[in-house]
């Protein structure tokens, strides 16, 4: 009997030296791959489906607070540390890697209104309803020692927020006035005041560190320069802005979370119209925080969800919610661009993945290339209807769905009415106003 065997010349597949690439018997002639397009389409479809299958963004729940969580403070150097303040005046420092509360102390009588780390992360500044600024060591006290603030500053004015300069030793508080402080002094270097309204949030620009912005209860956003004796400019929106976040990569852009369910991204140099209006929330937006890459931001809302937006797109790319999460008060994006934290009314701090279907843990190079390929495919075929449908489908709570329907109905009604008014009035009398311009009332000099 004759045994037939395949015999190949090893020269065709064995590399000559160790440093050469492995030879792959592969022919890239496009005429040999007549179905390359459909094959890639199917791959893209499968990748999209898998992406949705693996989309499990919830990482863990950090419980320990005995009242609703009111504010976050991100450590500027350590990724595994997060400080949270609660309505009962308690501050907790979390060890995120081990998912435990590393330290807790009662800092204030009443709410903790704001937490800020110093620029090197050595000190923690907290402000509360008791009109005090307290400075804490970020190192936990020795065993047996009591938790005591390093310094306590009694302020003349009520305090609603705090923000620390990224490069200086100065920090700023807001309340009745905007005050600029130095870490070494117990009196403010400067107080800036424009109008009589309460300022409820303050934020330093992380890039141009002399610029800062406040949101006031008269629905306005005020810009300051810490070197100037006067505020710079004020822009008044139709409703109150709850929080403000600067883009860490684009010095002139900031986003505000507004009471009217929208977020507005502004360019500091052109405040008459926002660059972008970000829709999709169905209730007041309570907090906003930028990703450290400056490409995206996360927003928390009273409608019990958090949403993630591309900084230059008006609709959210993702929505996170769980059954037990109540009104979300604050949110933060971790400094390695991987995680999102949300603190809500029901005393819990939750940790989410910023990319819902991302694989945690070690990713081998081959796996990495495969993920990259899948991402590229998804991006390439993003406009195809089936892929778009699967990629953008989200299950949301019933109340959100209902609220959305209601909002849509209201909007449609308004549009119809406007069209009717336009139809029955002199041409040109009822002008077309773009969505962007509707929400800014005036810019004050």
């Amino acid at each position: 009997m004759k045994v037939k065997m395949i015999s190949r010349n090893p020269d065709n597949y064995v590399r000559e030296t160790k440093l050469q690439q492995h030879k792959m018997p592969r022919n890239y002639d496009p005429s040999l791959h007549p179905l390359e397009g459909p094959r890639e389409y199917v791959r893209a479809l499968n990748a999209t489906k898998l992406d949705r299958v693996f989309a499990k963004p919830f990482v863990c729940n950090l419980s320990g607070h005995r009242d609703g969580v009111s504010c976050f403070g991100k450590h500027p150097k350590l990724l595994s540390t997060l400080a949270t303040g609660a309505y009962d005046g308690e501050v907790r420092i979390w060890d995120l890697a081990n998912r435990v509360s590393a330290r807790s102390f009662v800092a204030h009588n009443g709410f903790v209104r704001g937490i800020a780390y110093a620029k090197d992360g050595e000190r923690i500044f907290t402000v509360g309803d008791d009109k005090t600024i307290k400075v804490w060591n970020s190192q936990a006290p020795e065993v047996g020692e009591e938790e005591e603030p390093v310094n306590t500053i009694l302020s003349r004015y009520g305090l609603h927020g705090i923000s620390h300069n990224r490069k200086d030793n100065s920090f700023a508080t807001c309340g009745e006035v905007c005050a600029i402080w130095d870490e070494q002094h117990n009196d403010p270097l400067k107080t800036l005041k424009w109008g009589v309204d309460t300022l409820h949030t303050i934020s330093y620009n992380p890039v141009e560190t002399n610029v800062l912005a406040c949101c006031a209860s008269d629905r306005s956003i005020i810009l300051y320069d810490q070197r100037e004796a006067q505020p710079l400019r004020k822009v008044v929106l139709t409703m109150k802005s709850n929080k403000l976040a600067w883009n860490p990569m684009e010095a002139f852009n900031f986003t505000v979370a507004n009471e009217d369910c929208n977020l507005y991204t502004f360019d500091t140099r052109k405040l008459q119209t926002p660059l972008k209006v970000h829709f999709d929330h169905v209730s007041a937006v309570t907090d906003v925080d930028y990703a450290p890459t400056g490409k995206e931001f996360v927003s928390a809302s009273y409608d019990k969800t958090i949403r993630i937006y591309h900084a230059h797109q008006s609709h959210s790319r993702d929505i996170y919610h769980t059954k037990r999460m109540q009104h979300v008060v604050c949110c933060a994006w971790s400094l390695d661009n991987r995680y999102i934290f949300s603190g809500s009314d029901e005393m819990n701090v939750r940790m989410w993945k910023s990319n819902a279907s991302e694989k945690l843990g070690i990713i081998r190079p081959r796996e990495r290339t495969n993920f990259n390929y899948q991402e590229a495919l998804k991006e390439k075929y993003a406009a195809h209807p089936q892929i778009k449908r699967i990629a953008r489908h989200r299950q949301v709570p019933r109340h959100v769905l209902n609220a959305q329907r209601k909002m849509r109905a209201g909007k449609e009604k308004d549009q119809v009415k406007e069209a009717n008014v336009r139809k029955h009035s002199k041409p040109g009398k009822v002008p077309y106003v773009s969505e962007k311009k509707k929400h800014v009332l005036k810019e004050e000099v």
């Binding site: 710079l232 860490p248 140099r269 609709h315 590229a376 449908r389």
Partner: protein
């Protein structure tokens, strides 16, 4: 009472009065001393000033008037006194300051402008970041680390040993040579100056730490490398060295290929060097199986098959090394004809294949040229190329001035005839190896060339016509542009504060689909919304050539078929930049050609016929009755009954659905294409894309490993944002403003950088 009056002591009285007077001036509350810097005084700490009362008793302060009085007394200073008086009398009263709100407003405006300007600095960085294909976070810092510490050891150049100096000199020479080879022209001195400048700069503490780390790393690398080299030198394996040598050879070949393109001179030298190595190896006794190793093996060869194989291999190598030379040697021995030598050299023609071969064969005889046969070949080739290029360039130049057609014609004809003349002279019979070699008839050659010339000429003509047309259109456009600002100047006065950023924005080379739609939560209402969007959305800007196409039919997954079915149409889509400048002409021309082409057949009638044929239903009625089923056979069967029965079993199908293109005369919508496929098709051009052609181009090219080479695959699938686990991403730093272009470390980045930056449309054209 008089006693009392007498007792009145004015001194005591006065004392009493002053004591009473000074009662109020005693300060019980101390004036606050400030231990903190603060801008505002607290009102509770303000103390009533006591000075007002005390002032009356104090001597008056010296005023300007007093000075003047004194000066007047002396004649020496009278003049100065007058001047002072004048100044005092003519002093102006300052204007009342602005009211506080107005002043504040001005201050705020100035402050805001300052901040705006400061923020404007980031425009370029932000624009660059936005347009970047891949962004890496944390933003990699590009710091040049130089040891500037006071205690750093300076280089002891003076106490360098002679050997070190010599080494350095040789190294320098080598470096220069290498530079010349690569064709590097960067100036050393400038670089040195830059380095010195850097040295003078002070470094921060962090930078110093980083530099120290870097240095340590470099040192470690160096030691590792030297250790590796030492180890490698000690390796005794023959195979290893063989492989290494082969590797080196390959590398050299690669280098040569590269140099051939960039620096032909250097390439030549390299070639010679390589040839020399070959010659040396050939001359040596290697691979001849005469060494001890071979002799030892020969003993074993009888019994060992592997050994035999090795030896044979060795011999084969030697044969290979010497083979080429032997060939040429034999040729020369046979060929040499010293008498004919000079003659042949005279009528050497690079275009003549026969003479060329002869020269190639003859070369090795000469001692000087014996080492570089390739060299000669290379040179002749190169000369030829340059000659051709020169001719071509001349032709072009002659064409360019191109106004008086007659003169130009003459000019052009001249250089073309020259080479042909030369060729006519050439034919010559020469003897080689006893063969009579005759030139091929040049006439045919010339004719062929002239034909080619004609083609070229025609092509050039065409090109020139096109160019002039484009120039004219450009001129028109510039005229229009020039005219425009005069009008718009008055209208547009408002400054756009984001103009700089917009201007700086670079168009991305690789466009990505952006989907800015709400997430769909339930299917049903979403579709409505989609429909609404589709209806309301303004039509995508489509070129004039394609506004009749149903987008749904073109932007699909079936590319190749579409390409074939509408070739002309696709062509029109592809080179739409051409269409830009002579749209109308082209359209008219196109119309003309089509009508000319189909002069004798009525396409419209054909089209309508096709359409009706396609739309009519094939089988409207189906007869379900089968002959012989359910009926008696034989005589006496009434036909009526049969027919009734048949009628009963006749299945009538529903009336055909109305066609979608029923009332559109010149439109044909193919309804036979499957509906399942349709739901996978894109119905409109997605957002950042402007034209269907662009979008289709982005979809058409595959990116998978199976279809494109590995490197291309890596480049195509590089993510837009790369972050590292466990690293804090710091916000943008000020150093980014003055940073030069990042040196690319990743190989894929380098490749992407090297790609020609041509927009996809231009590539196709």
């Amino acid at each position: 009472m008089s006693d009392d009056e007498e007792h009145y002591n004015p001194k005591a009285h006065k004392k009493l009065l002053t004591a009473i007077g000074s009662l109020g001036s005693v300060q019980h509350i101390q004036k606050s001393t400030r231990d903190e810097r603060q801008t505002r005084q607290d009102e509770f700490q303000l103390v009533k000033s006591v000075r007002a009362a005390a002032l009356e008793h104090k001597p008056r302060a010296v005023g300007l008037n007093d000075l003047v009085q004194i000066l007047r007394t002396s004649s020496k200073h009278a003049q100065t006194g007058k001047k002072l008086k004048n100044i005092q009398s003519t002093k102006k009263v300052l204007e009342k300051p602005l009211e506080k709100p107005a002043a504040d407003r001005i201050r705020r405006t100035i402050g805001y402008e300052g901040v705006t300007k400061k923020l404007g600095r980031w425009d370029a960085v932000v624009a660059q970041q936005r347009s970047a294909e891949t962004q890496i976070f944390p933003i990699p810092s590009e710091t040049i680390y130089v040891n500037t510490a006071a205690h750093a050891k300076p280089l002891k150049t003076s106490i360098q040993s002679d050997l070190a100096k010599e080494l350095e000199a040789s190294k320098q020479k080598l470096h220069e040579l290498r530079k010349a080879q690569i064709g590097d022209t960067s100036d050393e001195k400038v670089l040195a100056q830059q380095e010195r400048d850097l040295l003078q700069k002070k470094l921060t503490r962090d930078e110093l730490f980083a530099r120290r780390k870097e240095l340590a790393y470099l040192k470690m690398r160096e030691s590792q490398k030297s250790a590796k080299a030492r180890m490698q030198n000690k390796i005794k394996s023959k195979k290893f060295h063989k492989l290494q040598k082969r590797q080196k050879m390959l590398e050299q070949m690669k280098e040569f290929e590269l140099l051939k393109k960039t620096n032909p001179e250097a390439a030549l030298e390299k070639l010679n060097a390589m040839e020399k190595i070959r010659v040396q190896e050939r001359a040596s006794l290697r691979h001849k199986n005469t060494g001890t190793w071979a002799k030892n093996l020969q003993v074993r060869a009888k019994y060992d098959k592997d050994v035999r194989k090795d030896l044979a291999e060795q011999l084969a190598v030697s044969r290979q090394l010497t083979q080429k030379q032997q060939e040429s040697d034999s040729e020369t021995e046979l060929n040499i004809k010293p008498a004919a030598h000079e003659e042949e050299e005279k009528d050497y023609d690079p275009f003549n294949p026969w003479t060329k071969q002869k020269v190639a064969g003859k070369a090795p005889t000469q001692k000087a040229a014996s080492e570089d046969p390739n060299w000669r070949k290379y040179w002749t080739e190169r000369n030829q190329n340059t000659k051709l290029l020169e001719e071509h360039r001349n032709d072009l130049e002659d064409v360019k001035p191109a106004e008086g057609s007659d003169v130009e014609e003459e000019l052009r004809s001249e250089p073309k005839q020259k080479p042909s003349k030369k060729k006519v002279k050439k034919p010559k019979v020469s003897f080689q190896n006893g063969w009579e070699v005759e030139e091929v008839d040049p006439e045919t050659n010339v004719r062929g060339e002239s034909k080619i010339d004609d083609i070229f000429e025609a092509h050039e003509e065409k090109m020139r016509a096109k160019l002039t047309k484009r120039l004219a259109s450009l001129q028109q456009r510039t005229d229009r542009l020039k005219a425009a600002p005069a009008k718009s100047k008055k209208v547009k006065k408002k400054k756009d504060s984001l103009k700089n950023l917009k201007d700086l924005a670079i168009k991305k080379t690789k466009q990505r689909v952006e989907i800015d739609e709400p997430l769909n939560h339930d299917d049903e209402p979403q579709q409505q919304v989609d429909a609404a969007i589709l209806e309301s959305a303004p039509e995508a800007k489509v070129d004039s050539a394609m506004d009749t196409i149903d987008l749904a039919n073109v932007a699909t997954l079936v590319w190749t078929q579409k390409k074939r079915s509408s070739g002309a149409l696709n062509d029109a889509l592809v080179n739409d930049d051409e269409a830009e400048y002579d749209e109308e002409d082209a359209a008219a021309e196109h119309q003309l050609t089509i009508s000319q082409a189909f002069e004798d057949d009525d396409i419209i009638a054909d089209f309508n016929r096709d359409k009706t044929k396609d739309s009519e239903l094939k089988n409207t009625e189906l007869q379900l009755a089968m002959p012989g089923w359910g009926s008696w056979a034989g005589a006496g069967i009434s036909h009526e009954v049969m027919e009734r029965r048949n009628k009963r079993l006749l299945l009538k199908l529903a009336a055909p659905e109305k066609r979608r293109d029923d009332n559109k005369d010149n439109l044909f919508i193919n309804e036979t294409s499957t509906k399942q496929a349709r739901q996978h098709m894109v119905s409109s051009v997605p957002f950042p894309f402007r034209s269907l052609a662009d979008y289709e181009a982005s979809i058409r090219a595959p990116i998978g490993r199976n279809f494109v080479p590995e490197t291309a695959f890596r480049m195509l699938t590089r993510p837009a944002v790369i972050t590292r686990k466990g690293q804090v991403i710091e916000p943008m730093d000020e150093s980014e403003l003055v940073k030069p272009d990042r040196r690319l470390r990743h190989i894929v980045d380098k490749r992407i950088k090297r790609l020609p930056k041509v927009p996809p449309r231009a590539q196709k054209a």
